[in-house]
Subunit: 139 residues, 4 copies
């Protein structure tokens, strides 16, 4: 299978997008139906006054990005998120995140992809899946 | 029904929590099974290099907070998120968000709450629901 | 608002559909963005050898139907389910179910509807939401 | 890893449970964190008067069972479903279903498992994941 986009192309999209830059995303690998990225911990990721764990919203954001951009190698583009499900498995504190995305179903109009997030000790922190609207842009 | 927490108490939690402060959350109302908050738009909320719409991860974060803190009036505390579902309804660009959360089921061990997000023209932007672990903290 | 279908029309679809007939569905009311139905308990609804509670798959089926057919009053038709989320709130044993469905967002290509199920004592048993593919059928 | 239950034990639970018997479930394999089952098509699985495709509620029921019983090899028991997400990928008509379940996260209080359903031509029909309440039964 060929890969319809390059690591550099995805990294360039990130660098031009304020929120993706803020998440500190680095593309580690891109396959025909998968992607692997790192998200870089930052001070604003503190979900409570005392514990300081990474908030669910950040984990959801990284899962959304990673599941969506798993489409890059197949379609050469990401697609609008229809909906997202996120499961939270364990607390993570001041750790970068490694995120692995994979296509479950590449459909004509709707595609489904999943993502899993690991902390810097390779423990599963969160996982999820989303539906993406992959119908061709109307002319 | 009595309300187990005050607007001031929730606002104080926000002010001491880096991520919630970063989201610019203001509590507008708190009821026995509901909450209403405003999230304040900021430059880092740009989901694409060209359009600049608010990213799905931000909407997910506000839904997670709002659904979870709908428990405040009933329990006097929020609870760990087990999982979250978010549906994206329309794009929003450079708008504050009004979020309304409500308890669907207050359970002994697991509770379910929903949230709806509106833009500054009162259009529904996103909605969702989450499961929260509301078993009493073990002693 | 006008209602694009009648109770009789929906009941006729049920009567001609093996699985919907098997669920014992009776349409109680139909509005422009809502529907109310009853599902009739039957012996095959036994989810365990001992307790005999109604299985999650039956509750999911009734939620899927009710959320989808909440579109009837607006569109005059149901639509293919893209995905479904179901939350289980309490066990129900040998009870009929009352299901209330409502449109959350009527979209051009994707719509989102919710449903809540109650037992014969009006206790909330399960609830959920689904995404439905409401783009016009291609010609 | 040892497997905490046998194929025969799970098949015996199915045979004593009305709804699981009605789904025609046969256990094909059981591993320490996985299960594979077949569900047998029957006339009542007709989701529309004309096309006769297998309804979403049946697919949801098989996903719920398969994800839940993926816990069998690890725990020696299934667990109550907290919530379920199902994605529908393609229509299936009058086909048995092969279902493969797998544990994503075995947790102390909540576990998450996924399942994928294939038709008799090995095409992916539906997939999903659920949260299950795996805290030890209280004494």
């Amino acid at each position: 299978m060929t890969v319809a986009a390059s690591v550099e192309h995805v990294q360039d999209i990130i660098s031009r997008t304020p929120y993706l830059s803020w998440l500190g995303l680095k593309v580690l690998a891109l396959g025909p139906d998968s992607i692997e990225v790192r998200a870089t911990w930052r001070e604003e990721w503190g979900a409570s006054p005392t514990v300081g764990q990474t908030p669910g919203g950040i984990l959801a954001a990284v899962i959304d990005f990673t599941a969506d951009f798993a489409l890059m190698g197949a379609l050469g583009r990401a697609a609008p998120t229809i909906d997202l499900r996120v499961d939270y498995h364990r607390m993570t504190i001041k750790s970068d995140l490694i995120a692995k995305g994979k296509i479950i179903k590449l459909g004509k109009q709707v595609s489904v992809c999943e993502a899993r997030l690991y902390d810097d000790k390779e423990r599963l922190v969160a996982s999820g899946r989303g539906s993406f609207f992959t119908a061709p842009p109307s002319s």
